[in-house]
Symmetry: C2
Subunit: 196 residues, 2 copies
DNA sequence: GCTTGCACATACCAACTAGTATGTATATCT
DNA sequence: AGATATACATACTAGTTGGTATGTGCAAGC
């Protein structure tokens, strides 16, 4: 077991615990007991609880969310199809358990934005990334005649992000995977409106 | 100062503290210090912290959210106009501070649904109420030829709820009132699609 | 005027929780 | 081989936090 392994094991479990309990509900003691390690190991890698949360956002949440959206930059194909495929994939791969726990990004946004500006800044980077990449993809679509010329690309991109988070949110209270599917389908219909 | 006054003062402040810090971040000590009362008063009215949270949902959040949606049942006028007026009002009355703190319902949903089934049940009642009242209003609109006959009323109602929560969510991270306005406007446009 | 019960106030505690101080085994470099 | 740094383990603490046990002023009812 080398050093990077331990650090990543810690971060992975922290992410899971935060996903379930929220950052304020995260208990370092619970995680280290779970991993079979000790406080010494934990505080060897992270100076504080806040640092753990920020590392989880930067090293786990951000990469996993922005992977697709950054790929839009050089992707071939109709931007609306690319976006719809991604939403469809999100809908298809979602398990009841994931829906019940909610979107990790959304959870942290709701909980931490007003409490810790460092958290908000890092979360904003992720949300901005999603929206801006989508906006640019739609704008390229306009330039290529694939997307309606009068489409407000920034507004559509922003609404798509809101629709995704809202779908997660509603499905989470209702504890209903089918609610998530229905709302994602409505979002697909909405996107289709902007095809040229 | 009579008894009901004290109870309501406590609930009001608890709501504010929860709105800002979340339920797990709620500190009873902080609230009673703020109100200038003592533990004795607090635990005279509420048996536990959980009971406070549930009372806040049942007595503050639920009535304020469902007031409009229940009124739909007997309201005159085009259902789409009624809904759009409500969304417009939500957009107009939102202050930067409220946007920064987020939607109280959404906040609690994200934080508490997976942690406490009692909370989730009570929050689900609110969300269900919003969606079902909207659904019925749209269905009446279909019956009266005001709403497109092929509209999936339940899906539209659900998506409207998701759109609202999503708009709050995105605006909260971005700390942007104009983002909220833009997304609410997109939601208005979406609703317009179903006018007969 | 005496009891009863409501509406609090005071003092206190047990459990938890992030964080620290210190020790130690092992690998690496010189 | 000795020094140094890394990667942890152990033990402990200071500050919180929800909750309780107990006391008290007071108004209403008898």
């Amino acid at each position: 077991m080398n050093a990077t392994d331990t650090r990543e094991r810690i971060l992975g479990r922290m992410f899971q615990d935060i996903h379930k309990n929220g950052f304020q509900g995260l208990r370092a003691d619970r995680v280290i007991a779970d991993l079979g390690i000790t406080k010494g190991a934990l505080y060897h890698y992270f100076p504080s609880k806040d640092a753990i949360g920020l590392a989880v956002i930067a090293e786990i949440i951000e990469p996993s969310y922005l992977a697709f959206f950054r790929s839009l930059e050089h992707a071939k194909g109709h931007p609306i199809d690319l976006l719809k495929d991604h939403l469809q994939e999100l809908a298809d791969k979602a398990t009841p358990d994931e829906i019940y726990l909610g979107c990790p990004l959304n959870n942290l946004v709701q909980e931490m934005s007003p409490l810790n500006e460092d958290f908000r800044q890092r979360l904003k980077v992720v949300m901005d990334g999603m929206i801006h990449c989508t906006t640019r993809a739609l704008e390229r679509g306009v330039a290529q005649g694939q997307v309606k010329a009068d489409a407000d690309c920034a507004a559509v991109a922003s609404f798509m992000a809101a629709g995704i988070e809202g779908a997660y949110s509603v499905a989470k209270v209702l504890k209903s995977l089918s609610s998530f599917h229905r709302n994602m389908q409505q979002l697909l219909n909405y996107l289709e409106l902007f095809r040229a």
